[in-house]
């Protein structure tokens, strides 16, 4: 039987505010356990939450970026559930009157199609603390530093029909919130967490099947695997004549397996009620305008500009524009590198490869756009060959020096581009290889001739101690041999 896959996403986005959504506690990462958990975050009796203006501004910026209607009157509710990392026994969230209404995000797919994914709404809420299950004499340790960190939960319509579309959307959302500067985008620290709702229906059917929710996926790769895994699992059940149970599942990326966390019917009744401590928040035109004024260039616009301004192809422009920090790094490199396409190649090639190899983010890179730009400029003006440039890059990355020219100098990587000197070397080498010269001159096929040139390059590079400019050598060779 053929099946249609139906996927909807819920994404928790931690907002990059300095303080929590309802208290003046710091949200800075890495503080000692519970040192950033105030009486409000601990839900002590008698405390009164006061909302953070910046959290609303960030939420409105997000709403504007996805072409959504902004909730002019935003109301908070309590969602009840018991868990030790939620001290109040309820989460303050928004149910009927969220800050961001319906909107959409367009996702570019590999085959060139553009897929529109509708946003159902996005609401503001508080994050919970963290539970540490290991090593406390059979007890669970609770750190409430994260409790009260502002989140927007983005809820999509079930518009995605494959893992590719879902992951494409996830990447686009990541790109959006980091470009907006409203989230640091660090998925390994849980700054962006994806819940995936999946159901299957017979191909072409209008009736949705029973869905499951796979929670807390914190990498794009795991998300892709988890979707494939869950689709397979549901297909097996349905094709054996069984029924999918509506439930929440946890996916273990390392083992590529999932298990049931809880079934939704059972005890999962959140009993929402309006938050008595918070009045409705009214967002006026002036507030929306001030948020609009803060909107930076968004990824789609940046991609178009990269193609236009730097002459990049669609693929490179897409890769370089998606991440705001990578985009800024590229622009700095291009600015100092003279040759934008060469800069793009080095940022997407060597630079990205080193980041991956050392599992670093762009902001953690030990080399700056200025430094790479200076190196690119030396490749562009033929001071250094591309193999020499890799050595320079490595030295800059390892902190041996902070300047490309200094490394080129100290490691003697400067190409000899003085044509007089190069011509002399070519003359000497050709004089020592009369047989090969004769062979070359008798050859009629230009392709074979071209290949034969390689035979001269080895001795030439040796003669120049590896410092001859290969491009110039080539030109001189062709001229002399042809004549």
């Amino acid at each position: 039987m053929q099946w249609d896959i139906v996927i909807g996403l819920e994404i928790h986005v931690q907002l990059a505010t300095k303080t929590k959504i309802f208290s003046g506690s710091s949200t800075a990462f890495g503080a000692g356990p519970n040192t950033q958990a105030s009486a409000i975050d601990l839900a002590m009796p008698g405390t009164l939450p006061v909302p953070n203006e910046q959290a609303f501004r960030y939420a409105v910026m997000f709403g504007l970026a996805v072409d959504a209607e902004i909730g002019r009157r935003s109301v908070f509710d309590h969602k009840n559930y018991f868990y030790p990392d939620l001290p109040r026994g309820s989460q303050i969230t928004q149910m009927d009157h969220p800050i961001v209404g319906p909107g959409f995000v367009d996702v570019d797919l590999a085959d060139g199609r553009r897929k529109r994914v509708r946003i159902h709404h996005a609401h503001l809420e508080e994050d919970a603390g963290k539970s540490l299950h290991e090593d406390y004499h059979g007890m669970t340790g609770i750190d409430l530093n994260r409790a009260g960190t502002p989140l927007i939960e983005v809820v999509t319509e079930p518009d995605m029909t494959s893992a590719e579309e879902a992951v494409g959307f996830a990447r686009k959302l990541h790109s959006l919130v980091t470009s907006l500067g409203i989230c640091d985008g660090d998925m390994s620290q849980g700054s962006l967490r994806f819940d995936v709702n999946i159901s299957l229906k017979p191909k072409g059917s209008d009736t949705l099947g029973t869905r499951t929710e796979t929670k807390n996926l914190n990498s794009f790769r795991y998300m892709e695997q988890a979707i494939a895994h869950e689709v397979e699992r549901q297909m097996d059940i349905l094709e054996d004549g069984g029924q999918v149970v509506q439930e929440t599942r946890l996916y273990n990326g390392e083992r590529d397996e999932s298990r049931s966390m809880r079934t939704k019917e059972e005890a999962n009744d959140y009993r929402y009620f309006p938050c008595p401590d918070l009045l409705p928040v009214v967002i006026d035109d002036a507030f929306i305008q001030s948020a609009r004024d803060l909107l930076p260039e968004l990824p789609d616009d940046r991609k178009a500009r990269f193609k236009e301004q730097y002459g990049l192809n669609d693929y490179d422009a897409g890769l370089l524009s998606a991440d705001a920090r990578l985009a800024a790094f590229f622009e700095e490199t291009a600015k100092h590198g003279q040759d934008a396409k060469l800069a793009a190649n080095w940022v997407l090639g060597e630079f990205s490869a080193w980041l991956n190899a050392e599992d670093k983010t762009v902001s953690e890179a030990p080399i700056t756009g200025l430094q790479l730009g200076q190196l690119v400029a030396r490749i562009a003006d033929n001071t250094v060959s591309s193999s020499g440039a890799k050595k320079v890059f490595e030295a800059l990355w390892n902190g041996d020096s902070d300047n490309a020219d200094a490394v080129i100098e100290s490691q003697g990587l400067k190409q000899v581009s003085d044509t007089g000197a190069l011509e002399k070397m070519v003359d000497d080498v050709l004089a020592e290889m009369p047989d090969q010269v004769a062979q070359y001159q008798q050859e009629q096929d230009p392709k074979k001739q071209k290949k034969m040139l390689g035979g001269f390059m080895g001795p030439l590079m040796k003669a120049s101690k590896g410092q001859g400019n290969p491009k110039l050598f080539n030109e001189i060779l062709v001229r002399k041999l042809g004549g």
Binding site: T19, T35, L42, G141, L250, A267, D269, R271, L278
Partner: protein
């Protein structure tokens, strides 16, 4: 309006309140009476009336995004039953 035994058991689970069998029949009538009282409100015509989210006709003030709280962990943990390494310790929870 009446409330069933199953409803009471379910609410007790949700609220983490232990209710033994002997209490349930008393709760059935007590909670039933309360629900009847609340039910009388249904007599009011509420068509075309937006549900009120807050009884005060006022708007929430927002605060600036500035750190105002300091670390008071020691004071808070002095009244916690169990702590270690700065963490609050609670009975083990595994889902």
């Amino acid at each position: 309006m009446s409330i069933s035994r199953e409803d009471i058991e379910k609410v007790a689970v949700l609220a983490r309140i232990r209710v033994d069998d002997a209490q349930i029949s008393a709760l059935e009538s007590d909670l039933g009476n309360i629900l009847n009282l609340v039910d009388e409100l249904s007599a009011a015509d509420t068509e075309n009336i937006e549900p009120l989210s807050h009884p005060l006709d006022a708007v929430q003030r927002l605060r600036a995004d500035e750190v105002t709280e300091t670390n008071r962990r020691e004071a808070f943990q002095a009244i916690a039953p169990a702590t270690e390494d700065g963490l609050y310790l609670v009975p083990r929870v595994i889902e």
